[in-house]
Symmetry: D2
């Protein structure tokens, strides 16, 4: 068993599993969290299907970190894979409670995770934190105000924490996703040739395709590798070149 320990949250969501596998490949002992893992059979099913990965029974951030530290001794890498299905619509149709729930899922959870892993990283003068966030706030689509505000707040955690963690040799960055394939949010069926979604990508994403979870996993693995720690406190968009637009239909200045 490797001496390098990585913690991946929400492992069954988005690129969580791909990232866990890439970290395992790169020599990490990988502890996986998921909302479903409170149930013993979900944990054992996950471990059966994903040889080498470890499912934790702890669901709450503080318990998860405490339990992992007890069993593994330390945490080298935290990949906070935050996700929340925020309500969308005109601001007057989003309830205040929906906004608070979105903030809880996208800002408070990574704050709690960082808060829990930081002390032992500072003590060991080593550690990498990678926050999964969204590039949506860079050019918000209409009707995503609560989602974009919460993601923007979370994203800034990477920047602001980098200032206090850097002197302890702990690195923190955020990856900002847009148009990454997932069956829940950007399923392939939606992007069949000629579909409105495919046409949208052609206009707004220079690469004219979805991002792959394996590409995200390589990015996360790179940031976790320790090969280039001088990239610190940064937001790295994973967007294929979005935001972009078709040429203006006439000569412009």
């Amino acid at each position: 068993m490797s001496n390098k320990v990585a913690l991946v949250t929400n492992v069954t969501e988005l690129a969580g599993l791909a990232c866990a596998r890439a970290l395992l490949r790169d020599g990490f002992t990988v502890v996986c969290h998921d909302a479903k893992f409170g149930a013993a059979d979900a944990r054992s099913a996950f471990q059966r299907e994903n040889s080498g990965l470890n499912a934790s029974a702890e669901v709450e951030p503080e318990n998860l970190v405490e339990d992992t530290l007890k069993i593994r001794g330390h945490i080298d890498v935290l990949f906070s894979n935050d996700v929340f299905a925020a309500g969308t619509g005109p601001i007057e149709d989003i309830s205040v409670q929906q906004f608070r729930d979105t903030i809880e899922g996208l800002m408070v959870i990574p704050f709690r995770l960082c808060r829990a892993v930081v002390p032992q990283m500072k003590a060991r003068r080593a550690g990498h934190i990678i926050l999964f966030s969204s590039a949506a706030p860079l050019m918000p689509f209409p009707y995503f105000s609560s989602y974009c505000a919460a993601r923007s707040g979370a994203t800034n955690l990477a920047v602001s924490l980098s200032k206090e963690l850097g002197p302890h040799n702990v690195q923190i960055n955020a990856v900002l996703s847009q148009f990454m394939h997932s069956e829940k949010y950007f399923p392939r069926s939606l992007f069949k040739d000629g579909s409105p979604a495919a046409e949208f990508l052609k206009v707004h994403c220079p690469l004219q395709r979805l991002g792959e979870q394996e590409e995200m996993a390589e990015l996360v693995a790179f940031l976790a590798s320790g090969k280039c720690n001088f990239v610190n406190g940064q937001l790295i968009p994973f967007t294929g070149g979005w935001p972009s637009a078709a040429s203006f239909p006439a000569k412009i200045d």
Copy 2:
């Protein structure tokens, strides 16, 4: 009484009063909110000392807007003057409850205000929203992670809401303050010649002085004036040129 109505929140905090006066000067009927105005004597004292300004008894965002609409008929301008004394320190010393309170004060309050004023602005195809926020997230000082995250989230509201409000001819922008004079946060006594704070300003703020509340008031009045509505969905730093740094003490590339 003018037919143009402006709502200013937290009027006794920061540049609230200066902004309210500038809007009054420019012909607005100005309705002022403050946490203290739940008490009748605080309201009457405020009105006695600030002839022409109106103190509302309503403290909660929704009630404040509803009451103002009942009395004034409509709201043309919302200046959401958000302020909250966030705890500072290493992330492990900030409690989760402190983070939630900071978010409540800096993100949820402006969300609730926007949510409440927007429907009548859309219906009338006219309105200006100006969010007061901080420039701190642009280059966070160490130990301000909860504050910067919350301010960053709030700031993005101006950007994301601009996308859905623009087609209804409602403008929204945010002003991002750093080093604005106030006796509570940046008192003049702190910046006496030769003091550490004054030396800090000399190095980090090109104008080498505090910003004045009257300057902020002119900026807010300009954005509220309707003279330049094409500035929309923007974040306007009010920082004297901060962030900045002394020259590197040797030739660099």
Copy 3:
């Protein structure tokens, strides 16, 4: 004659004339430059049609500034209204000479103007420089690489010069235009109801209209006014909320 002197370049281009008039209204003696003003009859025609504005015969930046200083004694405000009809197309179709010419028009000219006006501003500890630039680099349209690179370089002048000029109480900012009406670049005829250009604006500009030169003039006049000098070293987009995009045609994360 006012003691406050403003210099406006390329006065017959874009919002140059509207800005000159707004500065005149606000009490400035306004000296106007234009490429055409080398010819005496162009100057006299301009002055006849624009009572109160002064046309300079000097075309080169250094001569223009020197002559203005000789006649007016000092310059309080420089509005560097830079414009250049850059070639567009795939990078392999833009010649190196075209790129150099674009840079000369959009970067070297404002550099020369700043260089020439700065010494007397520093000596007097007063002055405002406003660079007209484009918001295009914020989300470049395809095939505008030489234009966007040059504009981006020019825009950064406002930021970088603010760091050295601030301690001398000289302010510099840039206004970044996109979709401002002008008969040369964004003529009204192009945006008739139902036209491709009008449809483009509906999708990509939240306000769904062109910006007006009078709005730009108010912004420039505000920055020149001295009422809010603490806005310094900033880039202020004048875009109606662009960049923006239609909602993604399905639920997204």
Copy 4:
């Protein structure tokens, strides 16, 4: 000999050699350019000392690309390692010719290189361009206006070109360096314990150390690897967390 060809310019400058070696390690045939390589003995000395790397005799961008294509058939990766010792000082002390020279070195050269490599990349629907640029424009030090303007212009090339190259499956990104070790610009001798430069780093760079060329080489190799092409059109700061500042010497809001 590998079928994957990488072109590295200014290989003896900054991290050029480290990047060339990392690309060689990753299986590329690496063609190296340097201003010195017009001389045959400089080329042979370089190849003797750097087994496996190839020195080109061509100094001009167009010739370099043409010659490489003639010999190698195609170019998969261009690492445009741009560097120029720009003059620094107050703007009035920088001559217009110095500014033009700086632009030539930092903007026109990468433009010419991109222009030359792009057609065959588009034709093959494959290729990666990585521009080396500086993070200095993100928070310019005083007296670097010509350098920062030119770097900012060059940096935007990565963004603007990504919009037109993406549909051809060609990726372009820029790495933005600050405080990377090099004996020419940031020599170790300058950063001895207690030196002004070392103290400066402690305050302004969260990691409190110089970046290593090997770290930069890993970043460039990652972007060239094709493992994560969805990171496209991005600017990736390599700064250790700079810009940053010591805490304000009192409680602030």
